[in-house]
Amino acid sequence: MTTEARYSLYHPKWYRHPVSVWWWLSSWRFTKFVLRELTSVPVAIFSLLTLWQVRSLANGPEAYARFEAWMSTPLAIALNLLIFVAVLFHAQTWFHLAPKAMEVRLSGKRVPDLLIIVSNYIGWLVVSAVVAWLWLGR
């Protein structure tokens, strides 16, 4: 007898089904999931655009005019259109996921999902109106 570790001669090697990098193209549900996750990129780009806007505001009227001029180029418009679609998709999926991510109880009863989703949309409309008014209505 030896004290060495005992190895089984025929240890089973687990079979792993090879998955392609493009696995998410096989079904619309998967594609939608990856597209939803990819809205992270347009979201981050818009944060950086807003950061650039703040920086050009801080740097004076000429810098701000350059920012505004770039935002009017066809490339920027196309980019912002893409960002807008992505951000709407993100908002829609986010509002619909909210009741699944967090259960809200009022006096012991679970608040129905639909109520949470609808109040998300109402809050969204109110907040959007306030922001648009602050930004433009002066």
């Binding site: 998955v19 990098v21 998410w24 990856v34 996750e37 990819l38 809205t39 992270s40 990129v41 979201v43 981050a44 818009f46 944060s47 950086l48 655009l49 807003t50 950061l51 806007q53 703040v54 920086r55 505001l57 801080a58 009227p61 701000y64 005019a65 505004e68 935002m71 009017s72 920027a76 418009i77 980019l79 912002n80 259109l81 960002i83 807008f84 951000v87 709407l88 993100h90 908002a91 986010w94 509002f95 991510a101 809050g123 969204w124 907040v127 959007s128 922001v131 648009a132 602050l134 930004w135 433009l136 002066r138």
Partner: protein, 116 residues
């Protein structure tokens, strides 16, 4: 280190996701489309500056820029893991994703703090 940060990262992800969902559509629509296309008049430089001078507006802008950066970083990290099956590269992915979000946050804080 990353393990201990995980709850914070998920918190930043969901806070940033909420900010992006509630506030980004109207901001993109106004700043990125309606004003550049000339459908509505752009507020002048002086009026925007006077608005941003208000401390609350600066706090608002800081939250508006920084939290979605962390949201994007966190979500993109997992997109690279699952979508592109890059989990074995997790160290550079983590450093690049959160590093950029942190850099953007520091830059935002710097510009807004020194705004005059």
């Amino acid at each position: 280190m990353l393990k201990r940060m995980t709850p914070l990262l998920w918190f930043l992800f969901s806070a940033g996701g909420t900010v992006a969902a509630l506030l980004f559509p109207v901001h993109v629509l106004v700043t990125g489309l309606l004003i550049p296309l000339g459908w509505i008049d752009a507020p002048g430089y002086d009026s925007v500056v006077s608005l941003v001078r208000h401390p609350l507006a600066r706090l608002y802008l800081f939250v508006l820029i920084s939290l979605p950066l962390f949201h994007g970083a966190h979500r993109f990290r997992y997109t690279l893991y699952d979508g592109l099956k890059l989990k074995h590269l997790h160290v550079p992915i983590v450093l690049i994703c959160y590093g950029s979000a942190l850099t953007g946050t520091v830059a935002t804080g710097y510009f807004l703090w020194n705004f005059s």
